[in-house]
Structure formats: structure tokens, C-alpha cells
């Protein structure tokens, strides 16, 4: 039986920072998989840059989670030496990339969520989270714009691109609800004014998505759901184990190596 990574006596703020950091880390890994595989060279570059922004955010958040936890774990310890069950990211970011339209649907869903969250964290009572948010909000504004432009271009494009973009939206839609599920960690951190109850972000997310989907002549999926949740407590989909293995292989094969 695996210990519940949340229930242990870890400060809620550490868990909160780790969750946001894991979202950014895992999505940056998925974006890196696109490099040399994107439909255009410019997209290789764009997705690498977006992934790099997320990786930078993850480094700040993981370092901070380690400090608050107080057990002496560094950003590298947290990224490379935890097992799958200890990662606290949502399922959306670990889902396989699929085709380009699937990945752009994910980018739109996640960056819209992340931007709404960061805009509130800018006024967090926690100086590190507020500082991180103040930087990241500018970056993620570009990420959301990048995704929205692709969803519009493909959705309102040819018959084939429209069908594939709709399939991409449908493919990622069942993962959306989990983004907005709060629990006692969110309550505790939001109660201190340091964090945000994710449920509060939903109306804004819906409004932006509706506007983009409408302009892109795409249909908002109805009834496409799966039992949401699990990621925030370390329960993941099959894809996650493979992702963690690839992400950690080099580091674990050469413990303590430097260059």
C-alpha cells in the first residue's frame, strides 16, 4: 500500500507548490517531445520555448516546495527521484500528445486555466508565489494566445483540419473537470490568502473557451466525461509511468553526475 502523499504531515503550502510545479514540469516534458516532430520548424521552436517557460516555473515551484517541506529535498530530488505515485499533477498534462490538434487543445485548456490562476496568485500573501506569478503571468499570456490562434486556424480551416481540431478538443475534454477540483490543501492555502480555490476559476475558463470554440466553428463537447481526479493525490493514468521513466532515466542511471 502506498502512503497518501497528501495526507502525510507535509505543510499544505508545500503540497500546493508541488502540485503547481508538477503541472508545469510534466507539461514541459510533453512539449519537449514535439521538438523535431512539429508540423513546422517555427512550431518546434515555439513549443520548445513554451516548454522552457514552464520548466523555469517548475524549477521555482519545486525548489520552493522543497524549502517549505523542510526535509532538505532540492528541485532535482523532487523532479528526478520521486516515483510516479508522488507526482501531484493533473491528468490533462500527462496525457499523450496525440496529433498536433490534440496537443493544441491541451495547450488551450491548460494555459487558460493557468493564466486565470496566475492572475490571482499575483496578489498572493506568499511572496514567493506572488513573485513567481508576476513573472509567469506574462509568459502564459503568450502561451494562451499561441494555442488560441492554432485552434482558430485549424477549427475554421479546411474540412480535414476542422475535423481533426474537433477530435482534439473531444479527446482532451474529459480531463478538464479535474483542473477545478479543490480539496483540503487548496482550502488551507486559500484560507491563508496564499492560494486560490480552483473552482473559482471555472466561469472565466468557460467564458474564454466558449468564445474561442465559437469563433473556431467548433462544438463544445457535451457528455464527454470521465470520473475526474486522482492526479492531485498521486493516482495517475497509464501514460504517467512511461513519462516518468523517460524523464528520470538519465538522472537515475548516473546518480550525482555533473558536467
Amino acid at each position: 500500500m502506498t502512503a497518501d502523499p497528501v495526507a502525510a504531515s507535509i505543510p499544505p503550502l508545500a503540497t500546493y507548490a508541488l502540485r503547481l510545479g508538477d503541472d508545469a514540469l510534466v507539461l514541459s516534458h510533453r512539449l519537449a517531445e514535439w521538438v523535431t516532430n512539429a508540423p513546422q520548424l517555427e512550431e518546434d521552436v515555439a513549443l520548445a520555448n513554451i516548454g522552457l517557460d514552464l520548466l523555469g516555473q517548475a524549477r521555482t515551484l519545486l525548489t520552493y516546495a522543497g524549502e517549505v517541506e523542510g526535509a532538505g529535498r532540492s528541485e532535482d530530488d523532487l523532479a528526478y527521484l520521486r516515483d510516479e505515485r508522488e507526482f501531484l499533477n493533473v491528468h490533462l498534462v500527462e496525457a499523450p500528445n496525440g496529433d498536433f490538434a490534440v496537443s493544441m487543445a491541451r495547450q488551450l485548456f491548460f494555459s487558460t486555466f493557468q493564466l486565470a490562476l496566475l492572475q490571482r496568485l499575483v496578489s498572493s500573501t506568499d511572496p514567493t508565489l506572488a513573485g513567481l506569478a508576476g513573472k509567469a503571468v506574462k509568459e502564459v499570456d503568450y502561451h494562451r494566445d499561441h494555442a488560441a490562434q492554432w485552434v482558430l486556424r485549424l477549427g475554421d480551416g479546411t474540412e480535414i483540419s476542422h475535423a481533426r481540431m474537433q477530435a482534439g478538443v473531444d479527446r482532451m475534454w474529459p480531463y478538464v473537470d479535474e483542473l477545478f477540483l479543490g480539496d483540503e490543501v487548496d482550502d488551507a492555502v486559500a484560507g491563508q490568502g496564499a492560494g486560490v480555490d480552483p473552482a473559482l476559476l471555472r466561469p472565466e475558463w468557460d467564458a474564454y473557451l466558449d468564445a474561442v470554440l465559437d469563433e473556431a466553428t467548433l462544438t463544445r463537447p457535451e457528455g464527454l466525461r470521465r470520473p475526474p481526479g486522482g492526479g492531485r493525490r498521486g493516482v495517475h493514468t497509464t501514460a504517467m509511468g512511461h513519462l516518468v521513466a523517460e524523464m528520470q532515466h538519465q538522472h537515475r542511471s548516473h546518480p550525482g553526475a555533473s558536467w
Binding site: E42, N49, L52, D53, G56, Q119, T128, K135
Partner: protein, 181 residues
Amino acid sequence: MVIGSVVAADDVLARAQAAAAAVLDPELPVLTIADLGVLRSVEVTADGTVVVTITPTYSGCPAMDAIRTDLLTAVRASGAERVEVVTVLSPAWTTDWISADGRDALLRFGIAPPGPARDRAAGQGSGPVFVPFSARPVDVPACPRCSSIRSTEISRFGSTACKSQWVCADCREPFDHMKAI
């Protein structure tokens, strides 16, 4: 460079400031970190430690480690015995901090400098939803080679996160533009 023979605290500070300000950005080696706005302050503590404070341009900027190493080397070479480099995230870096000299240097290097940054991301989420198809207002940069303003954006992400790619409709040359953030 010999500034003076007597090493007083003020002298240490002045030399450290000059040395730190002259460190170049490794990605844009025509620009000092002072011109770029990455260098926030240089101070001397009561025990004589020189504390250099920097801020990253982007969260994932890979140049920060090189800048930190270069700063330690440069400030030690200026005569300081103990040097610390501190990284801060707040206030968040903005392209508005790039100096006039820095903008000239970018232009000479073939990179169109950024226009004024808008505080477009700072809302609390209660504002109007953007009409997404009318892509964000983008300041069309003048071509750094021929100064034409007839240029088109190729990609919003260029060779580094801080740049976008453009092509000039007159001289037909592609060029980088540092995005306003």
C-alpha cells in the same frame, strides 16, 4: 584597470558596480546586463560582502547560470573578496527596463527592439473576454536592416523565448524582434 591605490569600502563598491554592470548577456553579447535591466543592484554589506542582485528575463531563461558565473568572476576580479549573487523574481522584469543604449545595441545587432510593454496580463480575470480572432495588438517593428515598417510576423516565438520572428516585405530579410513583456 587601476581606479585608485587606496581600497576603501566606497571604492570596493564603485569597482564592483562597474564590473557587474559591464557583464554581457551571453545570448546577446552586444548588451550588458545593466542595459538589459537584469542587474538590479550592487551593494556591500557590513562585513564587506558584495551582494549582486539580478532578475531573470523569463522564468526559464537558460542564460542565468552563465550570467551568475560571469558576475562572480568579474566582481572578484574587481577586488572584492566575498561575492554573492542573489536572484529575485519580483518585481518582474519588463522590456521597459532596457536602456536607450541597449535598444541601440539591439538594433545594430539586427534585432528590432521592443516597443512599450502593456500591462495586459495583470487583470484579475474580471475583465472582458478577448475576441480571440483579432489577434493581440502587435506593434509592427521596423526592419533593423532597411527600416521599413512593412513587416510580417512569422512566429511569435523565435530563437529564444524573448524574441519573435519577422520578415520584411521590402528587403525580404527575416529578422528577430524582442517582444515587449
